[in-house]
Symmetry: C2
């Protein structure tokens, strides 16, 4: 008995959609996606209702890796302050990769413009979860205004990832001191 | 003698490119741009080398309005701190418009991915000028580290405009306190 490790058509389409839209934007055509995945258009439409659907599913599929790449392990014993700073250290590290184009979820929402698009809604939810992490840690850390701190942190996250993604800033010596300042002022020591 | 106030083909193309790409993204086709401008493709190609060229020119053409809508008048007698806060008050006000989609220059750079694209280069230069304003005011205001403060302010600008542009935050009670905190910590009183 052998184990078939060849990715399914569905997985190959999700991978192609995630990779190609991250590199080139959401306007990529169905043909290019199917070609990169090695899947016929007919098969694609058996698996997904539309390109919009495929795009939304590909963003959802990347959510676990996004979270794992940024968030600390639950109950890792560190303080809320350290756990929040961890996210930004990870961001700074990811942003130094030559193929970094910023946060894929922010990019998709900016590119699509339409916030009712299925892919925008997936992106919105994943980022709302990140903000939820910040809010929970802010509360845990005794922030004077956890909601304000969470809004500030996700603003810095999006601003930093966008600026690094367009090559305008490398984030070194920028993100950590900025977040540390916001944590200090919110009394999260 | 009458004054002909009808916009030229060139002006109509610049206007259409600026408006339609802001609303729908840079992937809009030449046909749609020419149709909206009421200009033939043949005429368009007599005026601009390519769609890329038209896009770059339309971004440049909007630069004066972008600056006028954000920056305080030169030598308005206010302190550097007040002049910096003015930019963010303007941003917050602009972001409350229902058709606000964020900073057009950031959006173009995120959408195009290619930072050597003529439109990306125009966008980059215009935002570098905004950062230059922040740096000059930071120096004038005696900031402890004017370069760091300027990087922080443009990061907040991009993060705030992006988040408001995707409808994720209204910026009220967020941007002004955040900028005030950064100014306080940098000793710009």
């Amino acid at each position: 008995m052998t184990t078939d490790v060849k990715p399914s058509s569905r997985d190959r389409l999700l991978e192609a959609a995630a990779t190609l839209t991250y590199q080139g934007g959401v306007s990529i055509g169905i043909e290019a996606l199917c070609k990169a995945a090695g899947v016929s258009k007919r098969s694609m439409y058996q698996l997904f209702e539309s390109k919009d659907d495929l795009l939304a599913a590909s963003l959802q599929e990347r959510a676990a890796a996004f979270v794992a790449g940024l968030l600390p392990a639950a109950d890792d014993g560190r303080s809320p302050r350290e756990r929040i700073l961890h996210v930004f250290e990870q961001l700074e590290s990811q942003a130094s990769a030559p193929d970094y184009h910023g946060c894929r979820y922010l990019a998709v929402q900016i590119e699509l413009k339409d916030q009712s698009h299925p892919a925008s809604r997936v992106a919105h939810r994943i980022k709302a979860d990140l903000m939820g992490f910040f809010r929970a840690e802010a509360e845990q850390g005794g922030a004077s205004d956890p909601e304000l701190l969470a809004r500030q942190l996700i603003l810095v996250f999006d601003g930093a990832s966008a600026r690094a993604g367009i090559g305008a800033d490398k984030l070194t010596g920028l993100v950590t001191p900025t977040v540390a300042t916001l944590l200090d002022v919110a009394d999260v020591r």
